[in-house]
Symmetry: C2
Subunit: 112 residues, 2 copies
Amino acid sequence: MKWSELSDNWCPVARALSVVGDRWTLLILRDCFLGKSKFEEFAESSGMTRHILAERLKRLVEEGVLERRLYSSAPKRYDYVLTPKGEELGPALRTLRDWGKKNMPVRREAKA
Amino acid sequence: MKWSELSDNWCPVARALSVVGDRWTLLILRDCFLGKSKFEEFAESSGMTRHILAERLKRLVEEGVLERRLYSSAPKRYDYVLTPKGEELGPALRTLRDWGKKNMPVRREAKA
DNA sequence: TCCTGTGCGTTTTGTTTTGGAACTTATGGC
DNA sequence: GCCATAAGTTCCAAAACAAAACGCACAGGA
């Protein structure tokens, strides 16, 4: 089964995962909730490659989770902000954070 | 950055994702919460390949989220049950389900 | 004018992971 | 013996990924 087919699964968890079901997407959204919005900010904070970042941002915009917003017209620059649909992922991020905090202690030195 | 490096990230969300941050793992756990425990049950329910399923189950056992349990010794058969650490992912699954239910309507006919 | 820097990506080149299907191993029933 | 069941394993091609270079549009300074 492919990722795309998941979006029409009977199960709402599977449908949710068709959007946020990979390790990078939720890290981007975490950064959004931390106030980041720019390409370079995501790239540096999450440690993912620019290639993957660009693709994930595109997907998130297509899915209506983020909005691509022109914030400077002189040199055309865009950033990404949460839509209402994206904002509603807050509780999911929080439960994941709480689980990680409790059940996934840091073993070695923290990196990024 | 690689998946494995995520497990020592300063951010608890990232550490959580180092375990559950892919589309198949959370589907396996969803099935666990629905009472499934056998290899074939996961395979059929989620639609993932047996190859990937075997790998993910191994990871989940290594991480202490599932326990591999001998349930028949005559023909040796194992199944997988949630540990306390796994049980604590319940809230995360529920928030994802709720988000999916509200924000990801089924577009075409449901499949599996 | 030319050079350098910034921000947001795209392209290129290998490596790793995944998908799909067949195969294995151990046992029980007919 | 022969088929079925459960839990994987193995093989190969296709897709996704990582890392780094490149592209482009503009700004500021020399």
